[in-house]
């Protein structure tokens, strides 16, 4: 009954094919949901929301009264990524991060790519996030972008595109880990039969990577997480990651630099810090080096960093590759450094700094998405088809005044995933942010943050603008025949669960029949976390 009136529409649906039958990888889930009685999904959704609120899994909303927290809206229906598709994503992301790291290193050293005219100089030197202070500096192990959260989207053509590289302080990974915790409690049977790849070792991998950056000769390095403090919108995540890794969560005022070494104030005096996972933008890191009015940072931090006495992740200066105009050059960057074609394509992008592109953009504002180079969180963006004439005129004058700062892309028709809206399931648009760690090698977390635009028809998935999140299930391999339901009947959208299937699949012993009902009873339990 849950999928009876579900409409795929003119979109790519991650769970159902155009004809309306469940995709092979999603069949166990479709079957499990179809078998739930009316009202059950809402109950589980409410239980999940209660758990989130009680666990204090919240984010702060800027512009509202200080300390106001909201739970990050969460939808209990997961998004499923089949194994073969994931393997392409994984290879594509590794390739991209590898090339971007070489690119950043080159920019702060020989600048070969600029000399060879592959990326125009003025694009780099006018980027807000290009840091002259980093020229000539060698970060530990030659790694700049240690932690990346790349945004991926799927268009109606079925192709997965890279939408954005988040190389500065990507957030959201804590929701991935907590969402998984909750889903395991809501759908325990599916986890035992579906071969879903675990994500929980992310924090161990993160800590290993951070320790790997410690200055040579440090036997047991002290790693800390530097947060701007409790009023930052991602504070929950900072605290969560510090706790999961078992490292200290510090604020700028806990640290002091003496003799080019970073020390933290403890109840027993000062102690040396070797690696800092900083969740503070470059601008605020060190008032002596970057913004002088920053109270959040640590005076002298950059000097300690350059002296090799402390490692920062991500390295200062990394943000230059996060510029939305630089993004447009990534396919050429990959080709230049690796001699390979890009595996996961970019969204076709018009660069307003280039005259031909700009003319096209100005003529087609009503069809395109226009983005400012240095904004994030969905701010500073024009979604052409949803815009008013006034908004378009305003953007046109902004683009003309500062073409360097704008790019434009065709409006993508993001793929959709079934989502619980009130008491029924409807399709909603999603994107996907996997997390990549660059340490000894490049590791792509098998999963990621699926963000969903909960408002009907909306394409904006940002949490600050009405977006929510879903768990992402990356499958270990192609789905096998479901062990508890050997009937092999495909469940389509119009299929209602047939009681005889359950009976038919029950093992001959009487205990087997009971097993089904016990399991579903177990599923309805509230999460106890």
């Amino acid at each position: 009954m849950w999928f009876d009136n579900y409409e795929v529409g003119n979109f790519f649906d991650e769970m159902f094919s155009k004809e309306g039958s469940a995709r092979p990888s999603a069949r166990p889930l479709a079957r499990a949901i179809a078998s739930l009685p009316p009202g059950e999904l809402e109950n589980r959704q409410r239980a999940a929301e209660r758990a989130l609120l009680q666990m204090g899994i919240t984010f702060n909303v800027y512009g509202e009264e200080a300390g106001v927290e909201k739970i990050f809206p969460f939808d209990l229906l997961p998004r499923i990524v089949p194994a073969t598709e994931w393997s392409l994503i994984e290879r594509g992301l590794k390739q991209r991060i590898h090339a971007l790291n070489l690119f950043i290193d080159d920019l702060y050293h020989e600048q070969r790519i600029l000399k060879d005219g592959v990326v125009p100089r003025e694009i780099i030197f006018s980027a807000k996030s290009y840091r002259e202070q980093c020229v000539g500096w060698n970060p530990p192990r030659g790694i700049w972008c240690h932690i990346t959260g790349t945004d991926l989207v799927r268009h109606s053509d079925g192709q997965i595109y890279v939408l954005e590289d988040n190389l500065r302080c990507p957030s959201g990974v804590s929701y991935v880990l907590e969402n998984r915790q909750i889903l395991k409690q809501l759908f325990p049977q599916l986890f035992s039969t579906s071969r879903i790849r675990p994500v929980s070792d992310y924090t161990q991998k993160l800590r290993d990577m951070l320790e790997y950056l410690a200055p040579e000769g440090t036997t047991s390095p002290r790693v800390v997480l530097l947060t701007p403090g409790i009023y930052n919108s991602a504070y929950f995540e900072h605290s969560f990651l510090a706790r999961q890794m078992g490292i200290e969560l510090v604020e700028g005022r806990d640290l002091v630099v003496e003799d080019e070494c970073v020390l933290m104030r403890t109840t027993k005096g000062f102690e040396r810090v070797d690696v800092i996972y900083r969740r503070l933008d470059d601008d605020f890191l060190d008032p002596r080096c970057f913004r002088a009015d920053s109270l959040l940072g640590v005076p002298g931090l950059m000097q300690a960093c350059k002296a090799g006495n402390v490692a920062l992740a991500n390295a200062p200066g990394t943000g230059v590759a996060d510029d939305k105009v630089v993004y447009a050059y990534v396919p050429r960057i990959i080709k230049y450094y690796l001699g390979e074609d890009i595996l996961l394509p970019n969204v076709p992008t018009y660069i307003c700094a280039e005259e031909k592109d700009r003319e096209y953009v100005l003529e087609h504002l009503d069809e395109l998405v226009v983005k400012a180079a240095n904004e994030s969180g969905g701010y500073g963006m024009l979604v052409g088809p949803h815009s008013t004439k006034e908004q378009r005129e305003e953007f046109a004058s902004r683009v003309k005044a500062n073409p360097r700062n704008y790019i434009a892309q065709p409006t993508l028709s993001l793929s959709r995933v079934p989502t619980l809206i009130g008491d029924r399931i409807e399709g909603r648009h999603v994107d996907l942010r996997p997390y990549i760690l660059y340490g000894r090698d490049i590791f792509v977390m098998p999963g990621g943050l699926t963000r969903v635009a909960l408002k009907k028809g909306s394409l904006v998935v940002n949490s600050s603008q009405g977006g929510g999140s879903k768990d992402t299930w990356v499958l270990a391999d192609s789905p096998q025949v479901n062990m508890t339901d050997s009937s092999g009947v495909e469940i389509g959208l119009t299929d209602t669960p047939q009681p005889k299937h359950n009976k038919g699949s029950a093992p001959p012993t009487g205990a087997g029949v009971k097993a089904t009902s016990t399991q579903s009873a177990k599923e309805t339990q509230e999460p106890s976390c």
Binding site: M55, G56, F240, E248, T267
Partner: protein, 330 residues
């Protein structure tokens, strides 16, 4: 551990304890008002006086009516020592140290906060209030129990205990003081059965009635003072609390007992030793109120010393709220 973290952990547990004790405070007054055969007008000013926040109250509310006093002490967000503010502050401190405390502690404190937040804003009915205070006491006990059962008994835990026990010692002395203010009003009652009823109410508000019975049997002012100030085994007695606080302070610094390495260790050592050799008769002849007043001042000096020794940041901008309540409770 980080100084800032120690500071937050200490204040987190201190604020939880404070919320519980403000509830106890009001509960004793409500009890005393119920046993009021003379039908006298309700007295709320003495209660405000014992909290030490009477100036703020007078400025913003004027006369101490039942409604005003209850609002000020229970739900007033502008009174930093109202139950509401204490729970909010405890949670704000906990939020900054979530990686230090256990998830269970956070979960309980967050539930506590959600309970208070959803409580009606104008609680004045006695029966509703009693139920509300019972819930607050239980939430606080649960938090303390969870702290003891789920957190490593290391440095952070000792800072928790230190904050809790100093706060409790201070507040037990104030609960005793409520009775002093009421005595002022009706000194004619001293030694009457009515007086005994009042002392019993004081004991009840410190959850001490039954334990007192086992110890002293008959209720007498002398016995109650002896029990709540000098008992070494009752967990809300001042002597017991301060001995615990001293033990935690020594556990944190590693200094052997009987010696001291910093200001607060010296102060609390002297305080404990004075209590060890004090007798109830001396306290009463000295004047109970004066004795308690001096005790509160000395406990405040210990708190100030802890701040200086462990939390204060050298040559930095002044830091957040931590220093403020010390001043306020004087």
């Amino acid at each position: 551990m980080l100084s800032r973290v120690a500071d937050s952990v200490y204040w987190m547990s201190r604020y939880v304890e404070r919320a519980e004790n403000v509830a106890r405070f009001i509960a004793v007054n409500l009890q005393l008002l119920l046993d009021n055969p003379g039908g006298e007008a309700e007295q709320w000013a003495p209660l405000i006086n014992t909290t030490g926040d009477h100036e703020d109250f007078a400025r913003r509310y004027g006369e101490a009516t039942r409604e005003a006093a209850l609002h000020f002490l229970v739900m007033d967000p502008e009174n930093p020592n109202s139950i509401f503010s204490c729970v909010c502050s405890a949670r704000e401190n906990a939020r900054t140290v979530r990686e230090i405390i256990s998830s269970e502690m956070w979960l309980q404190l967050n539930k506590f906060y959600l309970t208070i937040k959803s409580a009606p804003k104008n609680l004045t009915q006695t029966d509703v209030l009693q139920e509300f205070f019972t819930e607050i006491k239980q939430s606080s006990h649960l938090f303390t129990g969870i702290t003891d059962a789920t957190m490593t008994h290391g440095e952070a835990w000792h800072f928790c205990r230190l904050g809790r026990k100093l706060e409790r010692a201070d507040k037990t002395s104030r609960i005793l003081d409520v009775k002093y203010y009421l005595l002022l009003r009706s000194s004619g009652d001293v030694g009457t059965p009515f007086d005994d009823i009042q002392w019993a109410a004081v004991l009840r508000s410190a959850s001490a009635f039954e334990m007192y019975r086992k110890w002293h049997g008959r209720i007498s002012p002398r016995g109650v003072v002896d029990f709540l100030v000098l008992n070494r085994e009752f967990p809300r007695a001042i002597q017991y609390c301060l001995a615990n606080a001293r033990d935690s302070l020594h556990a944190i610094s590693g200094t052997p007992y009987g010696t001291y390495r910093n200001g607060p260790e010296k102060l609390i050592g002297q305080l404990c030793s004075d209590l060890s050799f004090a007798s109830v008769d001396e306290i009463i002849s000295h004047g109970l109120h004066e004795y308690l007043d001096e005790l509160q001042t000395r406990i405040n000096s210990v708190s100030a010393g802890i701040f200086e020794t462990f939390f204060a940041f050298k040559a930095q901008q002044p830091q957040k709220r931590s220093a403020r309540p010390l001043v306020q409770s004087q």
